[in-house]
Subunit: 112 residues, 2 copies
């Protein structure tokens, strides 16, 4: 039974992708399924949004990619973090924590 599939709050996709790539050598299509697995399907991540984000992030120098083969035998583009990407992950993680804390404060909902 899928949880309510939430819209993405614009901006969070980046940090989710960066974190997913921290473990290295993941191809695009697999990123979505990893994220959805970890969250029980809370996010509704359209693949259109994913690929656009990957291309943006590569342009900004946070990611590098190369073609290879998925476990299934299909061609797939494998991504990994650059040095800048790792720094960006650190930055956005801190940012998220601070941000979420502030929202919880306003909502008077100290996280459980």
């Amino acid at each position: 039974m899928p949880a309510a599939t939430n819209q993405l709050f614009r901006g969070t996709l980046h940090v989710l992708i960066l974190k997913t790539l921290q473990s290295g050598g993941v191809h695009g299509y697999a990123i979505v399924s990893r994220i959805q697995k970890r969250t029980g399907g809370v996010f509704a991540i359209e693949d259109g949004a994913l690929y656009q984000a990957l291309h943006r992030m590569e342009e900004r120098g946070w990611l590098e990619s190369e073609w290879g083969r998925a476990e299934t035998g299909k061609r797939a583009r494998f991504y990994q973090l650059t040095g800048d990407g790792k720094r960006q992950l650190g930055f956005e993680t801190k940012n998220w924590i601070q941000y979420a804390d502030a929202v919880f404060n306003v909502l008077q909902l100290k996280p459980a």
Copy 2:
């Protein structure tokens, strides 16, 4: 001293405004200062974004407003939640909790 002023993740402004109006009878300009007070200035809320959001939300029937006078003597538009607005607040609050929890999961950062 001002904390790093974060960009807003698009979409969160709604729930912050709804929550701030729960206590009733607040005018637009005061909403920003209340939010900033509660969060130690973590958010950088442009007033342009605020007024646009208020108008959107009133169009959607979540808010009602009327002109009055602020404590300072200036004219000001006072907002309050409608029934739909209260329901929306409930909905978006639940949504935020579920969402934040999922992000924390992916980031492997169980909230402190």
